[in-house]
């Protein structure tokens, strides 16, 4: 009985694969004859040789925005650290001599080991100091320590 079930599942799997194949072929053929359909046939991209363009609203590695003089735009208000659901941002504020700035982050750490790329920090920032538009999405590393980004690395 178990054996029959085993073969049944294999055949079912083949059916699913075949269905995708024929459905995609069908839409590709329609497209070939210039018939516009809502759904399009799937295309496989040969990653990493080929790459699809990232959407403009994508979220990738964070970067810290700079002021005109190269100082970080961040004023260490800690709203990002407050809103962060994975508690991966740590900030220590320090006093800046310039009375127009007053406060700057002496320590600003984003721990990517923990980050879930929700982008809340970007939304919360009142100074537009943090953005997630570097297009760097391949962040895997052999060393956890390399995934802890401090302010110098975020400013790069």
């Amino acid at each position: 009985m178990r054996l029959i079930r085993y073969f049944f599942e294999i055949i079912r799997g083949f059916c699913i694969t075949a269905r995708h194949f024929f459905v995609n072929i069908f839409f590709h053929i329609l497209n070939l004859f210039g018939i516009k359909t809502k759904r399009r046939g799937a295309v496989t991209i040969q990653y990493p040789e080929q790459r699809a363009a990232l959407a403009s609203r994508h979220r990738s590695l964070h970067r810290m925005m700079k002021r005109e003089d190269g100082k970080p735009r961040c004023v260490a208000c800690m709203l990002c650290a407050t809103v962060c659901p994975s508690e991966c941002i740590y900030i220590e504020a320090a006093e800046e001599d310039d009375p127009d700035i007053q406060k700057y982050p002496a320590v600003f750490i984003i721990d990517l080991n923990r980050c879930c790329f929700c982008g809340f920090c970007v939304e919360a920032c009142p100074e537009d100091a943090i953005r997630m538009d570097t297009e760097q999405i391949e962040l895997a590393s052999y060393d956890r320590k390399k995934l802890v980004f401090d302010i110098d690395r975020l400013l790069e």
Partner: protein, 523 residues
């Protein structure tokens, strides 16, 4: 004193009774109706500068200030009509016309009343196209304070505090109209011992603490009520501490101390000593049990340490030599702890050598700060201790066990002298929250908790008994002295069933009230 006649008024259709002479705002607050206000403070005469507490009173064509209008029989007040809300919105727009929108760098953000009221009544787009006037953002006005003149809304709370409470009048309002600014008088700096209250008093972030400046944000802090142990006044304080982050360790737990209202003792105020000298809570904490046997450190846990103390005392009981026990107490211990210490050492063991070692007295002032630097000396006296100060010659003769509470010996004597005086004592036990030079002189060091970390009660210099509960969690293997003493009482087994019942602060307090008239009257 003759009671003032009561007046009946209606606030938002609700019948409210208030004493004659009270203002509408006071009556509303007492009835639980919130009227927004920035300049009004319960401790001062109303000044009516912020214009935010406008209310509609039936029969009066214009809106009135509720902070300075006194109640009258049958008055009908409305606090939430469209007209009132519109007026408040207008007032807020004027207040914010010159207020910089630098909430991200403002230490007040999160507890700022202007922020809260904008959320509640404002939410407008500013109609001022002109740029805001630039003023001094970082003016040093005293040893603990920084004044941001841009953020100031001229409510004059600080000026009134200086005029009415401390009567030192360092602050004034200068210039007129648009140029108006709060500042210190020429060459003066706010140097009095109550300056820290200004930062708490300021409804916006114009006056901020130097100590708290940029350390953290207010919404990260948890509050815990406690009693200030730094002098014998017993001011009510709230200890604000950070619960920490999951992945990052913080340099300290406690970020600031603020006052809690208590009309009997400190009203709304605390002194700068109580406000800024909180670092003892995190600095040099003794968090592990440290035991030495024959010159070698031995690992010990809490139970073993307690057991060790009890065994050493029991040895003396068998030899009938309990008079050879010396105990050094201090007046940072709560009433309950002192009561247990008295029961164990004085009543059960009949030890002759019971001394107190406290911080030396310093100068007090005529407002809150007293000259005694210990919170519970009065309690110790009421409990029946004769509070003999400890002297090194007291332990020169035959002492077999020395039990020292607290590290205050180091404040009174020089470490070399203490070492010499203690060398011949076979068993030396120290129960202290603070690591000090006393540690290497002892055989067993047991970490204990600070007043902010335990429950109990203290008797202040005027004989007011105040209960307190833990505001912080004690670090490491710290246990309160109450736990130590009730454990020791049980461990000695002289009077096991008696101490078994006294394991919580409440139980001890009840027993204490039964035994001692002073505490029975205070219950």
């Amino acid at each position: 004193m003759k009671e003032k006649p009561m007046v009946k008024i209606f606030i938002d259709e609700k019948l409210v009774e208030a004493e004659e002479g009270k203002t509408i705002l006071q009556a509303a607050e007492a009835a639980g109706i919130a009227i927004p206000h920035l300049c009004y403070h319960d401790a001062f005469e109303p000044r009516g500068t912020c214009r935010l507490c406008l209310v509609e009173i039936e029969g009066i064509p214009k809106l009135e200030l509720s902070c300075s209008t006194t109640v009258k029989e049958g008055m009908k007040v409305r606090t939430q009509t469209d007209r009132v809300r519109e007026a408040r919105k207008g007032v807020l727009e004027f207040l914010l016309a010159e207020h910089p929108m630098d909430c991200p760098i403002c230490d007040k953000a999160g507890e700022c009343k202007l922020q809260d009221y904008y959320e509640e009544y404002g939410l407008f787009e500013s109609s001022f196209a002109e740029s805001k006037t630039r003023r001094e953002k970082k003016r040093d006005i005293g040893k603990n304070l920084i004044h941001d003149q841009e953020r100031c809304i001229l409510c004059a709370r600080c000026v009134r505090f200086m005029d009415e409470i401390t009567r030192t009048s360092e602050l004034g309002i200068f210039e007129r109209g648009h140029e108006c600014v709060v500042d210190v008088y020429d060459g003066m700096l706010i140097g009095n011992n109550y300056s820290g209250n200004l930062a708490e008093l300021c409804p916006v972030g114009a006056i901020t603490d130097k100590d708290f400046r940029f350390k953290t944000r207010t919404w990260f802090l948890d509050k815990g009520k406690s009693v200030c142990p730094l002098c014998s006044r017993g001011c009510n304080i709230s200890i604000e501490h950070h619960k920490g982050f999951a992945r990052f360790s913080l340099p300290k737990r406690v970020y600031r101390v603020r006052s809690e209202y208590n009309p009997q003792i400190n009203s709304y105020w605390i002194c700068d000593k109580g406000r800024y000298e909180y670092s003892y809570l995190d600095k040099n904490r003794q968090t592990t049990i440290h035991a030495v046997k024959n010159g070698q450190p031995v690992p010990m846990d809490w139970e073993q340490a307690l057991d060790h103390c009890a065994t050493e005392i029991k040895k003396l009981i068998y030899k009938n030599k309990t008079s050879r026990i010396a105990v050094v107490l201090h007046s940072w211990l709560s009433n309950e702890e002192l009561f247990l210490a008295k029961k164990i050492f004085l009543d059960d063991l009949q030890a002759k050598h019971i001394y107190f070692s406290d911080l030396p007295s310093e100068e007090g002032d005529d407002f809150l700060l007293t000259s005694e630097r210990s919170p519970n000396r009065k309690g110790a006296l009421e409990l029946g201790f004769d509070v003999k100060p400890f002297a090194l010659k007291n332990v020169e003769d035959t002492i077999d066990i020395l039990i020292v509470f607290g590290a205050f010996l180091i404040e009174n004597f020089n470490p070399a002298d203490i070492r010499e005086a203690l060398t011949h004592i076979p068993v030396k036990i120290l129960i202290t929250p603070q690591e000090s030079e006393l540690n290497p002189l002892m055989d067993l060091v047991i970490p204990s908790a600070h007043i902010a970390e335990k429950e109990g009660s203290l008797t202040n210099t005027d004989g007011i008994v105040q209960k307190f509960s833990p505001a912080l969690v004690p670090p490491g293997s710290c246990h309160s002295e109450l736990e130590f003493l009730s454990g020791l009482g049980k461990g000695i087994e002289e009077n096991f069933s008696f101490y078994k019942r006294l394991s919580s602060g409440d139980a001890v307090r009840k027993k204490m009230a039964e035994d001692i008239l002073f505490f029975r009257e205070k219950e």
